[in-house]
Structures are given as C-alpha cells and as structure tokens.
C-alpha cells in the first residue's frame, strides 16, 4: 500500500444566491454537495461529468482557492479545509493547478522567464539571479520548450506551447499534487496528445499525483488510475478505471459512456439516450440527484439520497440498485 496524499471527506460548497435591492440571500447554488474521495501518492484520479456538475469547484476547494462550506480536506494528514491563510502559505507550493485556458492564466506583459520564475519569488526562495535563470532553463527543457525563447511573451506562443509554459510554472516549486482542470480541452488533438504524453512523463519523473478533471471520457480513461463520476454536485461512482469503463454500475455512468462517440466504425453497446437536461443546482431534486432522468428509477429514488458505498472491491457507487 502506498501512502495517502489526500483525503477529502464530505466537502460541500454552497454559493449564496442574492437578489433584490438589499441583496438578500434567497437560496444557494449547491455546486458541490458532499463529496468524498482519497488520493494516494503517485496516483492519478480522474474526475468526469458534464458542465456544471461541480468538477472545477471541487478542484478549487482542494487548491484552497475556495473555502469549503463544510467537510474536511486532509493533505498529508493536515486539514486544510479551514486552515488560516498564514498556515496555508507554507503548504501552497505543494499543490498547483493547471487550467483549460493557458491564455488567461498567464500575464501577457511578463516574459516567459519571469512567469516561470514568479513562484520562486512569491515563495521567497533564497536564490540568486543566475540560479533562478538556470532553474527556468531546466524547466523549459523539461516541458519541451527552447531555452532561447525565455525572453519572449506568451502571445508569441501557440496554445500548446502556452500550456507547456503553465506546466513549467506549476512544476517550479516541486509540487506533490497537480490539479489539472480541463488542461487539454481547448487543444487540437495533435497537440492534446503531446501534452498528455508530457504529463505522463512528468508524473514519473517528479513523482507527482494528479487530479485530472475533464469532460472528455476517453482522455480521462487514458491518463487516470481511478475515476470518479460527478453529477449535480455529487460523486455518483468511483472506481479503478478498468472496472469503471468495462463495467459501469451507476445508470448515469452507463448513459454517459454510451453517449460518447467513439472514433471507430463498430457496432457499439446499446445506446442510452437520456431525456431532458440536468436540473439546476440551485434547486436540485430531492432523493437521488439523477432520478429525474434515470431510466431505471423507482419509488425510493425520489425519496432518499443514496450514499456512495463499496459494492465491488474498490468500486463505489451511489445508487439504490446496488
């Protein structure tokens, strides 16, 4: 058994909805509504689900860019969910985030060298000018960019190259965990595979752990060891990837997998076409969050919310069918 890096227990994030002249809170968007999972050192956990299901909010709570409304987040045993900014500061270099849009996450006025060196400065690393320059060059080589390009600005690079810059910056302080939120979603497939391969290599080289968030099932399957499926703020299924993709248990996972178009002209397993749209997280249904669209729903599903439980070794699902 390898060591535990992260234990997330029952985290929730409710965003207040304010309305009227007095900006009174009239309700809440239940963006994340009680999510738990664990991540071991060196492991990649994929999180999939459709837009608005709470993937980014989950990632941002783990990064502690957002404070959870409820629940705990143990990072190497320390609860960071309610940690003060001062104590968090020391831990921050251990976890880094990579976003979808490398354009907006890089300050356009800075040179690549300064962008990659910025983390050293923010975290007061006692390094000389030439030590920093050496570190920047090593990082650029690691992510496959030319060191000679370090005095250029982000807009002079292509989308894939900018994502490499973001990754170099995330690696600067030797993090333990990287949360990648739709990190390859905006890239063309030929560039997407370059970045995925880079991330796989870096993981080995730096002994990293990843939380890899994406709406693209095939990409998540490729890079992950385990995968969690979210729906309307809830984790509905969580399993090692082989089990999840070969034998999905939750009716939502089943529908999601059957709807994903495969780049192959083969007879596929029977397609399940869901009716209607995802309900609003400001007014989620009672009972199972999926019961309004579930082809297998029965009476109990509208009344109680099923808890995530292990029904096959290591394979957890939140559904009354099991």
């Amino acid at each position: 058994m390898s060591e535990m890096l992260l234990e997330v227990k029952g985290i929730k994030k409710y965003f207040p909805i304010k309305s009227g002249f007095l900006r009174r809170t009239t309700g809440h968007v239940k963006a994340v509504d009680g999510v738990s999972f664990q991540l071991k050192k060196g492991e990649t956990l994929g999180i999939v689900g459709e837009s608005g299901c709470g993937k980014s909010t989950t990632g941002r709570m783990i990064m502690r860019v957002l404070e959870p409304t409820e629940g705990s987040i143990l990072f190497e045993g320390q609860d960071i969910a309610k940690m003060s900014p001062g104590s968090l500061r020391k831990l921050r270099k251990d976890f880094q985030m990579v976003f979808q849009d490398p354009y907006s996450s890089l300050n356009q006025k800075m040179t690549v060298r300064d962008l990659i060196a910025e983390p050293f400065r923010i975290h007061n690393q006692p390094l000389s000018h030439s030590e920093i320059d050496g570190a920047v060059c090593r990082l650029l080589e690691t992510v496959g960019l030319r060191t000679g390009d370090r005095f250029r600005h982000p807009h002079e690079f292509s989308g894939g190259q900018r994502q490499r810059i973001v990754i170099a910056r995330a690696l600067a302080l030797n993090p333990k965990l990287i949360v990648a939120d739709e990190a390859v979603s905006a890239l063309d497939v030929s560039i997407q595979s370059q970045i995925l391969n880079l991330m796989v290599d870096l993981k080995r080289e730096y002994n990293l752990s990843y939380i890899f968030i994406s709406h693209n099932l095939a990409v998540v399957k490729h890079i992950s060891d385990r995968v969690g499926v979210m729906y309307l703020g809830n984790m509905v299924e969580l399993a090692p990837k082989q089990g999840l993709f070969a034998q999905p248990l939750h009716p939502y996972t089943e529908a999601l997998l059957s709807a994903a178009p495969e780049p192959k002209r083969i007879e596929r397993r029977e397609r399940i076409i869901l009716q209607g749209d995802v309900p609003s997280p400001a007014n989620p249904p009672h009972g199972c969050p999926f019961h309004t669209r579930c082809p297998k729903a029965f009476d109990r599903c509208a009344m109680e919310r099923p808890a995530l439980k292990e029904v096959v070794p290591d394979h957890q699902v939140a559904c009354f069918l099991y």
Partner: protein, 327 residues
C-alpha cells in the same frame, strides 16, 4: 452512388490582411450527394469554417473573397450569384447552424416569431400557417411543450434547447442542404447525442443532405457517410467513412487517429504529431504536412502532391501513397 446535390471544384478563398495573403481555403474539391452526411474534419485553422462561409457567401468582405473555383448547386454556380439571388437560396434551399446558437438567434425576439419570420421571408404563407409550421418544426426537433416554447425568449432556454431552436429555424423551409459548423462542440455528451440523432433523423426522414463540420473524430465516426480531411486549407484525404477509419491512407489522417485516446481500446502511449500547423500566411511550397510527417522524403518538401484517386472513390494527397493504395 446517389445523385449529386453539390459539387465544389477548386475553391479558393483568400483573405488579404495588412501583412499577408491568407490562403484560408486553397483549392478544395467536395461533393455532396442527396441524403448524404459529409463530415469535414480537421484541426483549428484548417479552413473548415471558411469553406462553409464561402458556400453560404457570408465571408467578411471586402478583405475575404472567393478568388476562384465554383460551387455548383441545383444547376447554379453559387459563387457567381448576385447578392439578391443568394438571399433567396440562403435559409431556403441551404441553411446553416453554428456552434453558438446565440449567433443565429435574436435575443429580444420570441423564438416562435423567429422561426415564423424565416418562413414568411421565403414562402407565401399566412401568419397562422407560419405559426403552426413553427410549432410542428419544433416538435420535429424534439422540443417538448412546443406550443409554450414559441412564446419564450432564447435566454430562457437551456443550451441544448437553444440548439434545437436554431435547427428548427434552419429546417423550417425544408432545405436540401444543411451546413452545420461544430453544432455540438459546446454541448455535453448526453445532449450532443440528442442533437446528432436529430440530424440523422433529418437525413433519413427528410432526405436532407448535411455538411457537418467537426474536429471530433468520434462525431465523424458516428455520423458520416463520406469524410473529407482538411489540413492547412487543402483536402488531404476524401473517401467513405468506413475507409477513413479502417484504411486511412494519408499520413496525417493516420497520425490523427493514432493521437486520440479511445474508450474501447487501451493505448499505452498516444502517438504525438510533432510541431504545429504551418501558418496560413506562409505555407511551404511542397506538402504542407511534410515537416510533421514521419514518412516524409526529401522530395515531399519540393513539390506539392496532387489529390489523386488512389482507389475508386478514395482520394489522397500524398506522393508516397501508390495508386491502388497500401504503401
């Protein structure tokens, strides 16, 4: 083989910018048969949208224009029609849908009214006929409670519903050809499949031909009868959908298929195509894929390969693929 509905020959659409001549679409050939779904696939910047805008004559003039070629449709060359003649074709015989429905919908007009207006523009119908046709079309595209939805504004609808309304607007005059430019790219997979099924229904029940533009090879496999692969403003491979997936011949098509992760099979490492697409303002003189191609020979950078029919109905732009296929 079905009857040809559209034949595009050597279409070139260039943009004159301050710094360069952008050869966005650089001599493409494309045929669409009646009741056929033709997918155009390629990475961003390969010229897919400019192709569709050229067919529809919606190029941002004066800097962008069709510099040569023809777009034959129902006996006419669309590229030579007057603005007025083209207006009569657009929305009636050919219509178009986009990735972002709000580019086609008017935010301050009820959706029913917007559909009726298309009909009133092209057909001699009364207002009440237009209204019932609008409701009927909304039902066809799978909008529940269509008689209520006609009274709503676009912002009151979900993304998937808006997409359906835009499709209803595009098909209310029962066009012969629908051009769909990344219509499901912004949608979640469970909603995407609903929209894709709807487009198949249009082909099967109304015999509508569809040009479906996408960068997603999964969507291509799902939908296409015929596939056109574009790279840097040119067609590099064009053939039936089965052949594209089972016997791709152009090194670029092969590399693309090897680059994407799959749900059905486990790929230990993904193939990664080195480098990036050449800029449309500065194409090399030889094969445009040569600097990224693992089979490239010195001759590839010297001379531009022709798009050749290497097997019946299988066109490939690569000098190394022999006639008869299989290198």
């Amino acid at each position: 083989m079905g009857k040809k509905l559209m034949e595009i020959r050597d279409l070139k659409t260039y943009f004159q910018t301050k710094n360069a001549l952008i050869r966005a679409v650089d001599g493409i050939d494309l045929d669409v048969e009646e009741g056929q779904i033709v997918c155009i696939v390629g990475e961003s910047g390969s010229g897919k949208s400019v192709t569709s805008l050229s067919i529809m004559r919606l190029l941002p003039g004066p800097k962008g224009r069709i510099t040569s070629g023809e777009v034959r449709f129902e006996g006419k060359d669309l590229s030579k029609l007057s603005e007025k003649e083209m207006d009569a074709v657009r929305g009636d015989r050919i219509s178009m849908i986009f990735q972002e429905p709000m580019t086609a919908l008017n935010p301050v007009m009820k959706v029913g009214k917007q559909i009726e207006e298309v009909l009133l523009r092209h057909r001699k119908v009364t207002k009440s006929e237009a209204k019932s046709k609008a409701i009927e079309t909304l039902r066809f595209v799978g909008v529940p409670r269509a008689e209520h939805i006609v009274n709503e504004y676009p912002h009151q609808l979900s993304g998937g519903m808006r997409q359906r309304v835009m499709i209803a607007m595009a098909m209310v005059c029962e066009p012969r050809l629908l051009i769909a430019d990344e219509p499901t790219t912004a949608l979640d997979v469970t909603i995407q499949i609903q929209v894709l099924e709807l487009m198949k229904k249009m082909r099967d029940e109304r015999k509508t031909s569809i040009i479906l533009i996408t960068h997603d090879l999964g969507v291509v496999a799902e939908m296409a009868d015929h596939v056109v692969v574009m790279y840097a403003g040119q067609v590099v491979e064009s053939t039936g959908a089965d052949a594209i997936f089972e016997k791709p011949m152009h090194p670029y098509t092969q590399a693309l298929l090897a680059s994407i992760p799959s749900l059905e099979e486990d790929k230990e490492v993904l193939y990664s195509i080195p480098g990036t697409v050449p800029s449309a303002g500065a194409f090399p003189k030889g094969c445009r894929f040569a600097d990224r191609c693992s089979s490239a020979q010195p001759s590839c950078t010297e001379e531009m390969p022709e798009l050749r029919e290497v097997l019946p109905e299988h066109f490939v732009r690569c000098a190394l693929v022999p006639n008869g296929g299989a290198a």
